[in-house]
Symmetry: C2
């Protein structure tokens, strides 16, 4: 019997004040006990306080303590000695770390023996990032793009589908290594429910699931964009696509964007083998590409043996006018590689994207995906399939569109009132408004001044292909800001504008 040791245990160190928010008290208590057992603070044989004593000590219900003790005894962390109490068990003791002498590498000694900088592949010039503050949810006016509003997330429906994906028979389906396979039901739902809305008829072997649209772009670039080849991109355009092409060693040429979308400039296109574009809602301007220009792009591809990468990242978010089908839908020569995503609708955190391409291309993309990551997490694939097949996705899109239309209207009204000098084209969909000021306004200064007031905006310069460019533009995202914050946010932003004139032409 070693229970005399119990008196030496600093119980108040093991159980600090429980937190009244966040995880449950049961969960907090369990985590602390497990911690103390596994790191040796509670050695085997130590007797725990009685449930009454511990409940008093922590000012929590005795039942909470009883439930945690019982479960830990069942799991082998504690041992229940009838009429005597709970004791720390010996069961997991052999899991202690190996000899401490080995455990501590000497960080001082020769920690810079390797010249890592010289060994690492160098970053290509021209890479640009759009950084969002990690704590953006805490800012008052987050006019950010690509994030989502937690108050819109369909928590109950998603939870129901996740729960179904945790059925015993479902787990058997997703837990094994799927090697290079995709969840058949998710592929089916995309083909039956999602792609037809974009006018796309696809076969199973023409679809590949990816870890978000980001991986889709990366895979397509690795397979189809040879180093040294030329890619035409929109300017202003999506910097992460440019980054991927630059890293691949491609040359970039820019196509200008006006109020009909990207301009199919024949001189620029003639130099390119590949075109990357966002026809549904151009990134970052939100403008929908006109039919005439769509036909011109396809025409270029036919005459120059070109390939088009269509990034349809948020096409489902159409709320005004008639939805125009994807470029892929009128691609009779099958020169379009289509990229879609559930990130802008369901949530970016789940990382679900997809590629639609000719079967022979999908076959090779699948091999590359296997090499790169094997496959995306299978439990999320199944939960997403259930979410779509049960009609939650369509319902959610409906709600999102209504909400985004409402916010777009509020934003446009607020801009017309407070920022009448800002030039913009009202979007038919998407969740951002691109604005342009007179050339003497510098939105990099505005972004900084706004940040200090809790207003998060994106300055246009990050989207330009060649510096300096679009420094008088900005993007106002409205997927993460609540409707009632829009008008006061724009009013506060407008007040900062007079301070944000360019200091010099070189700035």
């Amino acid at each position: 019997m070693r229970d005399h040791q119990a008196h030496q245990v600093m119980w108040h160190q093991i159980f600090p004040e429980p937190q009244r928010q966040g995880t449950t008290l049961q969960s907090q208590l369990r985590v602390r006990l497990v911690d103390a057992v596994l790191d040796g603070r509670l050695a085997a044989g130590i007797r725990l306080p009685s449930s009454r004593e511990l409940a008093d000590m922590l000012a929590i219900s005795r039942n909470t303590v009883v439930l945690v003790y019982e479960k830990l005894a069942e799991d082998g962390y504690l041992e229940n000695r009838p009429r005597n109490g709970y004791y720390v068990s010996e069961r997991y003791l052999h899991q202690q770390p190996p000899t401490p002498a080995m455990a501590q590498p000497n960080p001082g000694a020769a920690s810079h023996a390797v010249n890592w900088q010289a060994r690492m592949q160098s970053e290509p010039p021209g890479i640009k990032w759009l950084d969002k503050p990690e704590d953006w949810q805490r800012h008052r006016y987050p006019f950010l793009y690509g994030q989502f509003d937690p108050s819109l997330f369909p928590i109950a429906d998603w939870r129901e589908c996740s729960r179904q994906a945790l059925d015993v028979s479902s787990i058997r389906g997703w837990a094994p290594d799927a090697i290079d396979h995709d969840n058949a039901s998710l592929v089916e739902q995309l083909i039956k429910r999602v792609l037809p809305r974009r006018g796309i008829a696809a076969r199973r072997d023409e679809v590949l699931l990816t870890v978000g649209a980001q991986q889709a772009l990366y895979l397509v670039s690795e397979l189809l964009v040879p180093p040294g080849s030329t890619v035409a991109v929109e300017d202003p355009g999506y910097m992460d696509a440019r980054n991927i092409f630059l890293r691949r060693g491609a040359q970039l040429v820019g196509l200008e964007v006006d109020c009909d979308g990207v301009q199919p400039d024949a001189t620029v296109l003639a130099r390119a083998q590949t075109l990357y574009c966002t026809p549904s809602h151009q990134c970052p301007t939100g403008i929908t590409l006109s039919t005439e220009r769509r036909l011109a792009l396809l025409e270029w591809a036919r005459h120059h043996d070109g390939v088009i990468i269509e990034d349809d990242y948020d096409a489902e978010m159409q709320y005004a006018g008639k939805p125009s089908p994807a470029l892929k839908a009128i691609d009779h020569e099958r020169r379009v590689i289509y990229i879609g995503s559930l990130s802008k609708t369901l949530s970016p955190g789940l990382r679900i994207g997809y590629i639609v391409a000719p079967a022979e291309v999908v076959l090779r993309l699948r091999v590359l995906r296997r090499l790169m990551i094997r496959h995306p997490a299978t439990n999320n694939q199944l939960a997403a399939a259930l979410f779509i097949s049960h009609g939650h996705y369509d319902r959610f899109l409906h709600q999102m569109r209504e909400e985004l239309a409402r916010r777009a209207a509020l934003l446009i009204a607020a801009v017309r009132t407070h920022l009448p000098m800002m030039d913009f084209t009202a979007p038919d969909g998407g969740s951002a408004l691109w604005g342009r000021f007179a050339p003497e306004i510098d939105t990099r200064l505005l972004r900084q001044a706004a940040f200090e007031q809790g207003i998060l905006i994106e300055s246009g310069e990050a989207f330009c292909l060649h510096d300096p460019g679009h420094f008088n533009c900005l993007r106002l995202g409205f997927s993460s800001i609540q409707a009632e914050r829009i008008e006061p946010g724009i009013a506060a932003l407008a007040a900062l504008l007079p301070r944000c004139r360019r200091r010099s032409s070189a700035a």
Copy 2:
């Protein structure tokens, strides 16, 4: 009123016989109704059968129908007209696909206008895959490696953690785009609970989460293995690592493996800048590398400015002898890039791996990961963190080790009885046994013959660096075969051996 149309609906096509297994009847009924509404078979205004009628028609409980109708009315798919019944609502009608003329690309016309084969990056020679039949769970004797036994998966505990990860406050944490961040609690659990068992002390900025060990290897190779450089690999060794290095354009040189693990052959190592190895349980032989050889490898790295990639993919599965710490634990010059994974323990489907490396390397790997996928699915990161912090992981490891030790003993006994001519080294851990027959036995023939009898084995040839090699070897995995199947499986395999002699030396 258009409810006369209801009589023309082919209800038995919309509701075929419900399945008595798999998803619940409620879920099946909902999926079918949503399907019919969204694809237009049930047009707006159609009146549904009464709950009693439908329940009778499908021979299911009326309550099931009532619950589905009520929920669909709440979700806007149906409309409840009091004292009149449920009608299909108009709400989601605008979500119909765009004009069908656009929807059907002409697949015949010019579908091969693009010469995709010529455009796609060619596959490097030497790539080899180990293919597992997709339906392996249905084979009687799956001596496969790297899969898992669904009967061991900690379903209840994992479900509890997933449920906690679906709390409102948790969803707010994981649903946004994390850009390049990792879940802080999972990183903390790895540092506090998992890595110390390997003798590794790591700081937060030295850890990066990945989509399984596969992505970890791919990232490290992209950043640290320049095209044209030479990587020393184990022979026999892990083919997916070789594939990644080959695709990167590296040269491979092979180090032989004996009963003490990989041989630190100075002549071979002198040609390499990077070494890839699996010291804990060598892949595929399962042998633990001796301390003397570990020191020799570190010595090589110091003298030749070499970098070692340590793949510790299943180190937690140690069940005999004292666990030896990772090579990384005695890496005083910090030349070891360490790769770990939860795939071989928790489940491959969740895709959780990690890298431990100097902070400056992790920083650059993080940039590359952002470009490639942004980040791994965040909901799984949180669920895994909860699983570890609540003590489920340690308990599960304990169970897994006991079960694997039991299976290893059964397998070794069965091999000694039925395959006495097979040479092998009993492993201290891992979940596979590597065996060698006399040179006249061809395990490629054995693999094929076994497959026809429902026995899945892996022939050694897939692991060799230069063909033909190790054609008289095989790997018997025991993580996915149930204990009671081991002995009969080996007996059945032994019966096939006489048929599997090499036909000619060129075979």
